[in-house]
Amino acid sequence: MNIKKILPQLLTLLVVILIFGFFSYNAQVNMENRGITFGYGFLSQESSFDVQFSLIEYDGSHSYFRAYLVGLLNTILVSVIGIFFATIIGVVVGIARLSNNYLINRTAAVYVEFFRNIPLLLQIFFWYFAALRALPLPQDTEPMFGVFFLTIKGFFVPAFVWNNLDIFIYSIIAAIITIIFVRIYSRKKQEKEGIQIPVFSISIGLLIILPLLSFLFGGVNASVEVPVIKQLSQSGFTYEGGIKLPPELISLALALSLYTATFIAECVRAGVQGVSKGQKEAAASIGLTPNQVLKLVVMPQALRIIIPPTTNQYLNLTKNSSLAAAIAYPDLVLVFAGTALMQTGRAIEIVSITMLTYLSLSISISIFMNWYNKKIAIKEK
């Protein structure tokens, strides 16, 4: 080792250490002046603030940690909804972009160019403050299909009331496990004897039959609880029963999925275009049917291109869901880095926990993606 190699590294290290030292020294002094001691003990204290919308039971008597969980679950909820719809819209639009129909092609292109060139925050505001505010009041709402009520106070949908839900879930899990076994068996059989089993139709059949059996013999039954209008005061109405989706959630999910779908559409388009024409022709020339060409040749190669950037977009969507704070949807940032921080004043602890949550999420996904990329990479000889 010579001096030329060590010196720049030492210098960089020194600068970094100096900056961190400076910051932590100041933080110590500042906290001493304000009489705060650093620590995460406050997480178990009583939070004494309420959250409007929560998936788990929560009120002011619960701890700050519980508030953190509420925020985290709400973030996950909106991300999952957003990812679900963004994927559907994105795939449809991406395929529409490849259509040889001029009108469809143009419509998809206009959609993509329009929605991805407008800031996401603006779109969230648009849906929340402009579009959803034009909805009718609860008492004036016309029901959709008799059971859905889209009002200015939120979207009221009927809820299922289950008996023996656990047996139903077990039946679905059993169906999935059976399907996996069927797939393994069919692959082995094909490798040995060259006989193909219609795996797809068998899987669908299993997915329908096993849960159906649980209805017939397992004592599972579900009833539907339809929301009913209820008068609160002279002019205040609301709906009772069923599930209420607050307008914050709807507008956030809508904006996130419409915005992210444009990027997913571009990924899908690039992926399908990335499979060369020769591949399809070669596959057809060895006697594969068009369905087999799509399933065995085109899709595996296209997915290899599509999946990594799409995962990135999912990650972006999850991170973008933190914009919820702007319209008061109680997500992690609003509940924890907003309300809890205001109450406790523990800026360093709370911001660091919030950042670590997002950081661990994205790092774990990127580690998974690296592993996945390595696994599916074409191994050239």
Binding site: Q9, T12, L13, N26, Y102, L121, L122, A130, L323
Partner: protein, 480 residues
């Protein structure tokens, strides 16, 4: 006369099929047109569902009839090829045409026919359409935020001057072309600083920065005569010394006297806002995030383990967290890290935060370009006896940056679209101003107009940027 087979139209009875098909399609479009523009349903005598689907059915049959190969008519062939290849495509095309016709009248009436723009108070907005009066009255605020009205020429002048200076590169003659990079990387940002802090901010801050500029200019001029061996050290030491000398030794007395003169009224950054703030924030973040990202990407590919892991840590940290938490950090957590008497302006903190955040993304994009270069380029440069910096500046970076123009443009677009987030620290650029105007008791209920206006503005800016980057990409495309 051949037999007519309506299930399989062919060329033999071309005219029969063609006339029937065209009449059917035209009639179906006519029905929808009347329905949407004149609110007249001429097929209302039919039962409900049939009259609703009739245009679709008629048009579908019509398109089926005109789907004839080798008809000899150019127009027909291009229609068949583009929107009418098979039944499914025909159906979708009809659906799109009908939806467009159906949605035109409400859109037109909202945007233009029933909209109001005259007058200067809310009372003129009685129609069911948009109230553009609201935009007209608030236009000034949307552009300049809370910046005092009589001082707004300062913003205009700065932007016009900067735009003009930014285009100098297009007019430069061959002789000066080699100085362009220096100009855009060093001189132009400095001039921009000068304008923003002298004209837009005003007040005594100007003197601080003018010293910086004087120091920089003097040292650059002298720098030409310094042997290249010492240039590195020279450019680190001399400008800082000059600045300190100017500030504390030579001009100290004058500063106080001139400060009393108060040439321009000082406008604090909290009053800046609107679209101009969007531009200022994006502009500075753009300038800063590129070099930081460049160094991070070089650091990540460095052979020195410590530098490599510090760069990786930086990049992964900033990429892993949402921007809003970074801004939260800069507003509530960062002041805790500073000495109590030290205060950094809100706008500066925001610019630093966004720059670091975007720099991580720029770094990853540039890394992609660096990785795409074949090893031979490095080996060739090394075999010519080039050192690390010479190799990167002359051989590697010009090629790598060319490759990543689209990626960098995307990152810059993301940056511009991220600027509205600065509402977290209380700075109101255009979206923030919209939200402020929306809650004004005299102008309640015009949220839609505001958001549509801002959307159009952002769309124009971002779309122009993406098209420009596409042109740039085409211009610098080299065959490899």
């Amino acid at each position: 006369m051949n037999k007519l087979n309506f299930l399989q139209p062919d060329k033999n009875n071309l005219n029969t099929y063609l006339y029937t098909g065209v009449i059917l399609v035209a009639f179906s479009i006519f029905i929808v047109f009347l329905n949407s523009f004149f609110n007249k349903d001429i097929v209302s005598f039919l039962p409900g569902p049939i009259s609703f689907f009739l245009p679709l059915i008629l048009g579908f049959i019509g398109l089926h009839l005109i789907r004839i190969d080798y008809s000899g008519y150019k127009f027909l062939e291009s229609i068949n090829k583009n929107i009418n290849t098979n039944n499914f495509n025909a159906f979708l095309s009809l659906l799109i045409v009908f939806v467009v016709i159906k949605s035109l009248p409400p859109l037109l009436s909202w945007f233009i026919i029933d909209a109001n723009i005259a007058g200067d108070s809310k009372d003129v907005c009685t129609g069911s359409g948009a109230c553009w009066t609201y935009i007209k009255i608030w236009f000034n605020r949307f552009m300049y935020g809370m910046y005092p009205n009589p001082e707004q020429w300062r913003i205009n002048l700065s932007f016009i001057a900067l735009a003009f200076l930014g285009t100098i590169g297009f007019f430069a003659t061959e002789k000066f072309k080699k100085y362009l990079t220096l100009y855009y990387v060093v001189v132009y940002p400095l001039i921009a600083f000068f304008f923003i802090f002298f004209f837009i901010s005003g007040g005594p801050i100007f003197f601080d920065f003018s010293y910086g500029i004087i120091a920089a200019v003097i040292s650059i001029i002298i720098g030409f005569f310094i042997p290249s061996k010492f240039k590195m050290y020279y450019f680190i030491i001399v400008p800082i010394t000059l600045y300190i000398l100017l500030k504390y030794v030579f001009f100290y007395e004058e500063l106080i006297e001139l400060g009393k003169l108060e040439a321009l009224e000082w406008v604090e950054t909290g009053a800046w806002g609107g679209l101009s703030l969007t531009f200022i924030v994006s502009f500075f973040c753009l300038i800063f995030c590129f070099p930081i990202g460049l160094f991070l990407s070089l650091g990540r590919r460095s052979d020195f383990p410590i530098i490599k892991y510090i760069s990786i840590g930086m990049i992964e940290f900033w990429r892993g967290v949402p921007l809003i938490t970074v801004l939260f950090m800069s507003s509530v957590m960062f002041p805790m890290f500073l000495p109590e008497d030290m205060f950094i302006d809100k706008l500066v903190r925001v610019i630093i935060a966004i720059s670091l955040f975007e720099a991580a993304y720029v770094a990853e994009v540039i890394r992609g370009g660096l990785q795409a270069l074949p090893r031979g380029q490095y080996d060739a440069a090394k075999s010519l006896g080039m050192g690390y910096w010479k190799m990167h500046i002359l051989v590697i970076l010009p090629q790598a940056l060319k490759l990543v123009i689209p990626g960098i443009a995307n990152t810059f677009l993301a940056l511009v679209k991220d600027t509205p987030l600065i509402f977290v620290v209380g700075l109101l650029e255009i979206v923030g101003m919209l939200n402020l105007a929306k809650t004004n008791p005299e102008w309640l209920g015009f949220a839609m107009e505001g958001y549509v206006f801002a959307s159009v503005l952002f769309f124009i800016i971002c779309y122009a940027m993406s098209k420009y980057s596409y042109n740039l990409e085409q211009k610098y495309k080299t065959e490899r």
